[in-house]
């Protein structure tokens, strides 16, 4: 595959070799010279595919619905937002912070997507986005006479 210009953190989804796992190296490589605290905050994500849709699940625990943005433009789905520390207890002294905070962006490129019917929900700290395929992208059953 020829290298193409793309946004940081963007993963190509639909134009991968259907017989091989596509690579996430494009996400990992830019980070490898940076110290841990300089690495972008990238919430873990699962993407699965069925005959009729893609399911994107992003782990963003402890957020409000309003802190999450979902955009679909030029076949690129972008999930972004800002995960803030809980401000309820300012008087709290923090001992150990393994959780990561800050703004994040995850992008996925699709082809043959029914953009009007993308749906999203946020439950138990997981953002779930359903990305339906267009009719042409769905596998067709061909009967043998």
């Amino acid at each position: 595959m020829l290298p193409t210009k793309r946004h940081r953190g963007e993963t190509r989804l639909a134009d991968f070799d259907p017989f091989g796992a596509f690579s996430l190296l494009d996400e990992l490589w830019p980070a490898h010279f940076e110290a841990a605290e300089e690495r972008p905050f990238m919430p873990p994500m699962d993407v699965s595919e069925s005959d009729k849709e893609y399911m994107v699940r992003l782990e963003v625990p402890g957020m409000g619905k309003d802190d999450i943005n979902i955009e679909f433009e030029n076949n690129v789905l972008t999930l972004s937002g800002e995960k803030k520390t809980s401000t309820e207890e300012k008087s709290e002294k923090l001992y150990r912070v393994e959780r990561r905070y800050g703004s994040f962006t995850r992008s996925l490129r699709f082809t043959d997507i029914d953009a009007d019917n993308i749906k999203a929900s946020y439950k138990n700290g997981v953002l779930e986005v359903t990305v339906p395929k267009t009719e042409t992208a769905k596998p067709k059953k061909i009967s043998v006479d």
């Binding site: 993963t11 994500m45 993407v47 699965s48 625990p61 008087s91 700290g125 997981v126």
Partner: protein, 144 residues
């Protein structure tokens, strides 16, 4: 990539990689159902004058899939996370951890009877009140 660069790159990842099961007590390494702890949730521990608050990131679970236990000052958060997809979905990207998890935090000077927990938006919060005597003095916490 040279070895040095590789090490530099790999090192921070150790912070988010699953537990080395060897560091866990036997009962967790071999949980009741024979499952092995595969990952450990990210936590933060806050302290106020009269309590500690442990917040663990456990997105994608249900309340009753999380066990919170306190014995002899040792708080154990454990459970098992299962994949949401049930049908014939094919995995395209898999960055999330599944399977049995555990996190152990040791406290001193806490009131075990009054420990309580809640689970909201994928975050488990455990409130660990201090004993009367422990309020206002510094207490050591061991992480495991």
């Amino acid at each position: 990539m040279t070895l040095q660069e590789y090490k530099k790159y790999r090192k921070p990842l150790a912070d988010v990689s699953p537990f080395n099961p060897v560091s866990l007590p036997g009962r967790l390494r071999e949980a009741g159902n024979g499952s092995v702890v595969k990952w450990t949730p990210a936590v933060e521990v806050g302290e106020t004058g009269d309590a500690y608050k442990v917040r663990a990131e456990l997105p994608g679970m249900e309340k009753d899939q999380i066990d919170v236990e306190i014995t002899d000052g040792v708080l154990t958060i454990s459970g098992e996370r299962r994949r949401e997809n049930t049908g014939n979905e094919r995995r395209r990207i898999a960055e999330r951890w599944y399977g049995p998890f555990a996190k152990i935090i040791k406290f001193k000077g806490i009131d075990e009877e009054r420990v309580s927990a809640s689970y909201v938006n994928g975050v488990l919060e455990v409130l660990v009140p201090k004993t009367e005597a422990a309020r206002g003095r510094r207490i050591d916490i061991d992480f495991g």
